[in-house]
C-alpha cells in the first residue's frame, strides 16, 4: 500500500524556474512587509532601513513574472491568467484557485512595490521627478501612508505564503499531505528577507543601529517560528514523513535547512562573538541558503518520494 492516496497522481514537473520564483516571491513579500512594518511603527531614522527593504522587494518582484512566464508550456498565452481569452477584456479570476488569485496578487503587489521603490528613490534623493515626489507625498508620507503600508503588507504576506498554499491545494505527495506549507513559506520568506536586509544594511552607512537591532530580533523571532512550523509540517505529513526523511531529500532538509539555515544562524545571533564581525553576515548568508534549499526540497521531493515508493517495494500490483 502506498503511504498516501497522493501517490497515484502525476507530477506537474515544476522545477528550477518555479523554485526560483518561490524563493524570490518570499524575499519580495518578506522584505516589503518588514519595511512597511518599520514605516508604520518605527521613526524617521528607520526610513533608511525600510528603503532597503523596498529596493529588495522591487528587484525580486521584477524577476518573478518572467520566471513564471518562462515556466509555462505556452508562454505566449501568459495573459490568459488575467484576462478571459474568449471574452477579452473581461478579467479571469477564480477565488478558489490559488494560482488565479496569485496571478492577480503578483500584479497588484508589483504595483505596490513599484510605488514604494519610486518613493524610496525620491526620499534618498536618487531621483527628483515631480510625479514621483507627489506620489510619495501622498502614499508614503501623507494621510494615506498608513493604509498604503497596511494593504501593501497584506499583499506582501500573501505573496510570501500563497505559493505554499498553492502546493497544498493539489493532490501531490508531500504538498497535499500537509496544509501548513503556506505558513512554512511565509516564515521562511520573512526570515530570508530579514537576513538579506541585515546583510545589505551592513554596507549602508546611514542605517541606524536601532533599526538593525529590531531587524535582528525579528530575524531571530521568525526563525524560531519557522523551526516550530517545520516540525509541525513533518508531523502533519504522517506516513509520508518517513519516506521523505529516509531519502536524500530528508537529509538535505535536516542538514541544509534545519542545521545550516535555522540552527546555526540562531546560534550566531545568540553568540555573536563566535565569529566576531563575521557572525551576523555569516548567519544571514546561511539563512538565505537555507531558505533556498527549503524550496528546493519541498518542490523536488514530491516527485522523488513517489519514485522511491513505487520502486521500493510497495505492492502496486499484488
Amino acid at each position: 500500500m502506498p503511504p498516501s492516496d497522493t501517490f497515484f497522481t502525476a507530477s506537474p514537473e515544476w522545477h528550477w524556474w518555479v523554485i526560483a520564483y518561490f524563493f524570490l516571491g518570499g524575499l519580495a513579500g518578506g522584505s516589503y512587509f518588514l519595511s512597511a512594518l518599520l514605516d508604520l511603527i518605527g521613526n524617521e531614522r528607520d526610513r533608511h532601513l525600510s528603503r532597503l527593504g523596498y529596493y529588495i522587494a522591487f528587484a525580486a518582484i521584477v524577476l518573478c513574472a518572467p520566471l513564471l512566464i518562462i515556466d509555462l508550456n505556452r508562454p505566449d498565452r501568459f495573459w490568459h491568467m488575467l484576462i478571459q481569452s474568449e471574452r477579452p477584456p473581461l478579467p479571469m479570476f477564480k477565488l478558489w484557485s490559488p494560482m488565479s488569485v496569485g496571478s492577480w496578487a503578483l500584479t497588484v503587489f508589483g504595483a505596490f512595490t513599484f510605488v514604494s521603490f519610486l518613493g524610496a528613490l525620491t526620499e534618498s534623493g536618487r531621483i527628483r521627478w515631480g510625479l514621483a515626489r507627489t506620489l510619495n507625498d501622498v502614499v508614503r508620507r501623507g494621510r494615506l501612508s498608513g493604509l498604503f503600508g497596511l494593504v501593501g503588507s497584506a499583499f506582501g504576506f500573501f505573496l510570501a505564503s500563497y505559493t505554499g498554499v498553492l502546493l497544498s491545494v493539489s493532490n501531490r505527495p508531500i504538498w497535499a499531505d500537509s496544509s501548513l506549507l503556506g505558513l512554512l513559506f511565509l516564515t521562511s520568506g520573512g526570515s530570508s528577507a530579514a537576513a538579506l536586509m541585515l546583510l545589505l544594511a551592513r554596507r549602508s552607512p546611514n542605517v541606524e543601529p536601532e533599526g538593525v537591532r529590531w531587524l535582528s530580533s525579528m530575524d531571530v523571532s521568525i526563525t524560531i517560528m519557522e523551526l516550530i512550523v517545520l516540525t509541525a509540517v513533518l508531523i502533519s505529513l504522517g506516513a509520508v514523513a518517513p519516506v521523505l526523511l529516509a531519502s536524500v531529500w530528508g537529509i538535505l532538509l535536516l542538514v541544509g535547512v534545519v542545521v545550516v539555515g535555522l540552527l546555526v544562524p540562531l546560534l550566531l545571533h545568540w553568540r555573536p562573538r563566535l565569529l566576531g564581525n563575521l557572525s551576523i553576515p555569516a548567519a544571514a548568508v546561511m539563512a538565505l541558503i537555507g531558505g533556498f534549499i527549503l524550496r528546493v526540497v519541498v518542490v523536488l521531493s514530491s516527485e522523488a518520494v513517489q519514485h522511491i515508493a513505487s520502486s521500493g517495494g510497495f505492492q502496486w500490483h499484488v
Binding site: 492516496d5 497522481t9 514537473e13 505556452r74 479571469m92 477564480k94 484557485s97 504576506f157 537591532r213 530580533s217
Partner: protein, 270 residues
Amino acid sequence: MAEAMGFFTDTTVCIGCKACEVACKEWNQLPSWNGGANTLSGNSYDNTRRLDGMHWRHVQFIEQFSPDRTQQARWLLMSDVCKHCVRAGCLEVCPTGAIIRTEFDTVVIQSDVCNGCRYCIGACPFGVIEINPVSHTAQKCTLCYDRLQVGLTPACAKACPTASIQFGPVRELQQRAQARVQQLQSQGVKDAYLYGTPGDGHTEELGSLNAFFLLIDRPEVYGLPAKPKMPSRNLFSGSAFSIVGALVIGLLGVFNFRQRRMAQTGDGHS
C-alpha cells in the same frame, strides 16, 4: 443541460485487445510516442505505460501469479480513462478557464485556452492529465465531445469488441452496472464491486465519477486511489494558518519594537 453521459468500464470482460487505445488515437489524431519507435516497457503487454497527453485510453495488464503458478494465476485487465469526475479537481484549480464542464456533464480541456501552467496535472487525483508535446497544452480524454455533439458514440466505446467499455446516460449505466455486479456475485465472483458510483465508499468526495469501473480487487491494484480527494480540501485550512502566521509576525514586529523602545528608555535613564 443535456443528460449526464459517461462510461461504464466492466473490467471482467476486457480482453486487452487495445482497440480502444487505437480508436482513441485515430479519432483524436493523437501523436505517437517516441517518434513512433516501438520500445517495450518490460511490464507485461503494457507498452502504453500510463495515461498522458498522448494516451487518453490505457489498457492495464495486471499479472497476479504466485511464484509456482499453483496458488493464484489470473490477469486483471482494465481500460483506464479520465473519470470525468462530478466534482473535478482539475477544473477547480485551472487558472485560465481552459477546463470546462460541458452540457453532457463531462470535463473538457480547451486546447486553445490552456497556457500550459500544469496546475491541473498535480490536482487530478488519478494522474490522468499531462502535456501534449505537439500542442504544448494539457490534454486528456474529452469523452469525444465532438462526436457527442452530433449524437455519435465515443470512439473507444464504439471500437470495444466485448462491451467492456459501455457508453450512455450515467443513470442508465449505473443501473446496468449494479445488475452486472449482482450477476457476477451470484456466479461466485464475490469481490465484484463498482468504483465511482454514488455510495461506493471510495469516491464520495468527488461526488462519484461519470466514467466508473467494475473491479474485482482493491482500487490500488488497478492504480486507483482508495479515497480520491479534491485539491481544495487544504484551501481553507492552508489560508487560515497563513493568515494567523501573518498576524503573529505583525505582533512580533510590534513586540520587538516595544522591547527596543524600552531598552532605549532604559539607556536614557541610566
